[in-house]
């Protein structure tokens, strides 16, 4: 099954909004640390990853958290993971 960038992006948006309903992706700079921008603490972030896992089937190891700093790097990481799956 191929997953398009649009699908991944929508999955990220849905996952974040499941935890932070007010998150506004339209005004989010994709190159800035998005956890700070969207005010996601460690609980929120873990819950976002659980949501993402449910939507995309990608289990992100803790060691890779550093690659998820901005929306841009997160989308790139997820695309690479889905590609190699």
């Amino acid at each position: 099954m191929s997953t398009t960038p649009q699908t991944i992006r929508q999955a990220v948006i849905d996952s974040v909004q499941a935890i932070a309903p007010e998150a506004d992706f339209a005004s989010l700079d994709p190159r800035r640390p998005f956890r700070e921008e969207l005010d996601l603490d460690s609980f929120d972030f873990l819950n976002v990853l659980i949501e993402l896992h449910a939507r995309l089937g990608v289990e992100i190891p803790e060691a890779d958290y550093g690659k998820l700093g901005t929306l841009e790097t997160m989308l790139g990481y997820l695309a690479a993971r889905l590609e190699s799956a």
Partner: protein
């Protein structure tokens, strides 16, 4: 017969507004079951019942403002007949200390709407909110509320009848005016306290404080009391957490997302275990003296989306394994953020932990939450260069602080606590 009363959900709570029942007369209730929902300054709280039996008679009604300690329902004990209990004179006396309205008491009927809250239960020191409005008597309203009602053209008698005899304040008047007003966009805003211009609709209400303002007021009340009553002292120490973090990273490496443990849980456990060694920081200061608590219930400062904080308790934090503690913390944080806290979450913390986690500042000097006598603050984890065996190495640290109550302890106790906390972080595997 058991009386189910409005609980106190913190030192700053005087009363709550009853929202809804979750049980019906005749229904069995179990200890720990959610019996009703009450709106407080901390949001809507699910109130648990702490006796097992059968619900006999519901006294509180939606919309009533009920003081702490007031009877909300009568519960039959397991060996009692609930219908007999509901109809018993004792139940009626407890549920309506004022003369009951002229309606035949029916064991299963919800009390009629004119039955206002009865006067305060004997054990309660809370303010009495009011008796049912009686014809011929003026409505119970504050002078400011009367003035505002006159300005806005609100009928106080009608409002008194609608509020079941509860005293009327300015906010009630303004809410009533706003409800009666045409859509706000069609009328010019009028500053609070400004009379509407002659001839204009007398309904231009000032904005009514929303839930956020109520929560802000509750926080302000508790913190003002703290700063007035508690002679705080503050200590701080930088604690290396590299070993703890590495241990946690190993622990999580083999675990699926849903089973991973956050540093916040590990830190909570370290605080709870360190407290065992300095028990004079754990308890409540009530009626002029400190009562040490054997149990360690850590109130965890939880920020809410949209502003404000609540401080739900993680119970017996020193007795849970790390995965159990993580589950407990997750549960309570999720419920706090979704507005589904229970009365037991808010009633009995023995110390507070504010953990700014991986966002936020490096150091926090917290204000003690009365009637507790200490607050532990943990800043964000930061990387530092440290000197070890004469060499410079990279390591990660947190700033730990302790706010203590000088009525109970001195800096020496606080210093012992921070030393114990450091030892706990150095040895994350210790039971």
């Amino acid at each position: 017969m058991i009386e189910f009363r409005m609980p106190s959900l913190g030192a700053d709570m005087d009363d709550g507004v009853f929202v809804e029942w979750r049980v019906s007369p005749g229904e069995p209730v179990l200890r720990g079951q959610v019996a009703c929902v009450v709106e407080t300054q901390k949001g809507a709280i699910e109130v648990e019942i702490w006796d097992t039996g059968t619900m006999a008679r519901l006294v509180a009604e939606p919309g009533q403002r009920i003081p702490v300690g007031r009877t909300m329902a009568i519960v039959a004990e397991p060996d009692e007949d609930w219908r007999a209990v509901a109809a018993s004179p004792a139940a009626l006396a407890a549920s309506t200390a004022t003369p009951p309205p002229a309606v035949a008491p029916s064991p299963i009927a919800v009390p009629p709407t004119v039955a206002g809250p009865p006067p305060a239960a004997p054990a309660s020191t809370a303010a009495v909110s009011g008796a049912p409005p009686r014809p011929g008597l003026p409505p119970r309203a504050s002078p400011a509320a009367r003035r505002r009602a006159a300005e806005l053209g609100v009928d106080l008698d009608a409002l008194a009848a609608a509020s079941a005899g509860a005293p009327i304040n300015v906010a009630d008047v303004e809410r009533a005016a706003a409800a009666a007003a045409p859509p706000a966009a069609t009328i010019p805003a009028v500053a609070p306290g400004t009379a509407a211009p002659a001839g204009a609709p007398a309904a231009a209400a000032a904005p009514v404080p929303g839930p956020e303002a109520a929560m802000r007021a509750a926080i302000a009340a508790a913190m003002t009391r703290s700063k007035r009553e508690i002679p705080h002292y503050y200590l701080g120490s930088e604690i290396e957490v590299e070993r703890a973090l590495q241990w946690l990273e190993d622990f999580n490496a083999s675990r699926p997302l849903a089973e991973r443990v956050l540093f916040a849980a590990l830190a909570l456990r370290a605080v709870a275990l360190a407290l065992r060694e300095v028990p004079d920081l754990n308890g409540q200061f009530v009626d002029g003296r400190f009562r040490r608590s054997e149990a360690i219930h850590v109130g965890v400062v939880t920020s809410l989306r949209g502003g404000g904080v609540v401080v739900p308790a993680v119970h017996d934090a020193d007795r849970l394994t790390l995965p159990e503690l993580m589950a407990s913390l997750r549960d309570v944080v999720a419920r706090a953020r979704s507005g589904r806290l229970r009365s037991s979450d808010l009633a009995d913390s023995t110390i507070t932990l504010t953990n700014l986690g991986d966002l936020g500042v490096e150091t926090v000097y917290g204000v003690i939450y009365p009637p507790q006598v200490a607050l532990v603050g943990l800043g964000r984890v930061v990387s530092r260069a440290a000197v070890r065996d004469g060499a410079i190495v990279a390591t990660r640290v947190v700033h730990a602080t302790l706010s203590g109550d000088h009525r109970v302890t001195d800096g020496l106790s606080g210093a012992r606590f921070l030393a114990a906390l450091r030892a706990r972080f150095d040895d994350p595997e210790a039971p």
